[in-house]
């Protein structure tokens, strides 16, 4: 028997609302199956189960706010017998839907009222009048603020930058796309991400974490892709197992990830498994991106705009499509030499694009 608990969907998350169960008691579930939807400050997230089994008991009703770690359900693995004794209900925060809505509008944490039993609307209003208002009640802004403050306080960043001639690779891509239908076209952003993942395989030290005073390198590569939401805010969901994808799959998965991010349909693994961050601000015309690392990750790759620029080839000065790629590294985990090797490797890979397929 195992507890299925409210997962932490980021170091900054304290609680979330269980919105909907997608299974009922007695259902068989398989590893990776989405069994619930949870609403966080980053939108609605699909929650997957981590093992095969049977849903023995759902402990939390829909629309209940739960702190991270609260048991939500019991999952019985197939080789276990059904339990004979009933188990006490997990601790949960009860609140009426109206109270929950009001609390959200007013920036009040339901958890801070929970000791009084079921939370109702009047209690929320009374509480909100007593406490001073936060400067902003936008949950996502607060989450970003927390993570970035921690990053700048804890991580000694170093920055390296390289100019890469993209003319040959873009020419290759243009010819490649011309022979395909519009549905099969590859965008430069997907090609760059594929190249970064390939370079990380060669320089794995940048792909991992700094935890408990130690550097842990991750075998899998799950780059967090910074995706801006048009209504404001930023989410960096993971492109899970990007190291196992070819160019077509990278393009397809990236398109899918962007759509689901903007429609609020991400999975919990995508919110928590990032091993490095890739930020592309090129669409907005930015040349250099000096990013802030998302802890406990140890690196961030920033992509600028691909732009026409003067470029020397031998004795000739010509105009080429140039991109500035910047690396922010955690100096506790790696040195500038490692970062330099990575950028050099990335440049070499982009000069041989046919190997990116």
């Amino acid at each position: 028997m195992s507890d299925f608990v409210m997962p932490s969907l980021g170091a900054d998350m304290e609680s979330a609302v269980l919105m909907e169960w997608l299974v009922k008691e007695g259902d068989h579930v398989t590893k990776g199956q989405v069994i619930a939807e949870v609403e966080t400050s980053k939108g609605v997230i699909d929650i997957e189960v981590f093992e095969d089994g049977v849903v023995d008991k759902l402990l939390v009703k829909e629309e209940t706010e739960c702190t991270v770690g609260t048991p939500l359900a019991f999952i019985r693995t197939h080789d276990e017998a059904p339990p004979v004794q009933t188990v006490e209900n997990a601790q949960r925060i009860k609140a009426s839907p109206a109270a929950r809505r009001k609390a959200k509008e007013m920036g009040v944490e339901i958890a801070s009222l929970a000791s009084t039993g079921e939370v109702n609307l009047a209690q929320v209003q009374k509480y909100a009048e007593k406490v001073p208002k936060l400067a902003t009640t936008d949950g996502m802004r607060q989450a970003i603020a927390k993570a970035m403050s921690r990053s700048n306080a804890e991580i000694p960043h170093y920055y390296l930058s390289i100019s890469i001639n993209m003319t040959p690779v873009l020419k290759w891509l243009e010819d490649f796309n011309a022979a395909r239908t519009i549905k099969e076209r590859i965008l430069p952003a997907a090609l760059l991400i594929r190249a970064i993942v390939k370079a990380l395989k060669e320089v794995p030290e940048l792909n991992g974490f700094w935890q408990d005073g130690e550097h842990h390198i991750s075998e899998s590569i799950h780059p967090g892709i910074a995706i801006a939401l048009r209504k404001g805010g930023l989410i960096t969901p993971a492109l899970i197992n990007a190291n196992e994808m070819g160019l077509d799959e990278t393009m397809h998965s990236l398109g899918d990830l962007i759509s689901r991010t903007r429609n609020g349909k991400l999975r919990n693994t995508e919110m928590t498994q990032q091993t490095i961050t890739i930020t592309n601000l090129g669409d907005l015309g930015v040349q250099n991106v000096f990013g802030v690392i998302y802890p406990p990750q140890v690196a961030l790759v920033g992509l600028g705009r691909i732009m026409d620029a003067p470029w020397a080839e031998g004795d000739t000065l010509c105009v080429r499509k140039i991109i500035q790629v910047t690396l922010a590294g955690d100096h506790r985990a790696t040195d500038g030499r490692t970062g330099a090797l990575f950028l050099d490797k990335l440049n070499q890979i982009l000069q041989a694009p046919q190997e990116l397929l």
């Binding site: 965008l187 952003a189 903007r262 669409d283």
Partner: protein, 82 residues
């Protein structure tokens, strides 16, 4: 199909792909990607959807001709006739 009808199809598809945009935000002469924060993925999705509806595929070399709703309307109008 008239130019007005084509324009309506384009605007409908922009609203479909980016539901957080309102029709009033769309300036016919404005650069679609920059003025509406449509990234390269959304832009490709828009062209793919228009290809499904109108049967005209915009090659990458013609992207400069479809940067605004106005120009995109003219582009599709010309290519639909041929």
């Amino acid at each position: 199909m008239t130019q007005e009808q084509i324009k309506k199809v384009i605007i409908d598809q922009i609203l479909e792909i980016a539901p957080d945009i309102e029709e009033g935000d769309i300036i016919p002469e404005g650069n679609i990607q920059r003025s509406l924060e449509i990234d390269s993925f959304d832009f490709l999705k828009l062209l793919t959807a228009l290809n499904d509806i109108l049967g005209v595929e915009v090659p990458e070399r013609d992207y400069a001709k479809v940067e605004t709703v106005e120009h995109m309307t003219q582009y599709f109008a010309q290519n639909l006739v041929q």
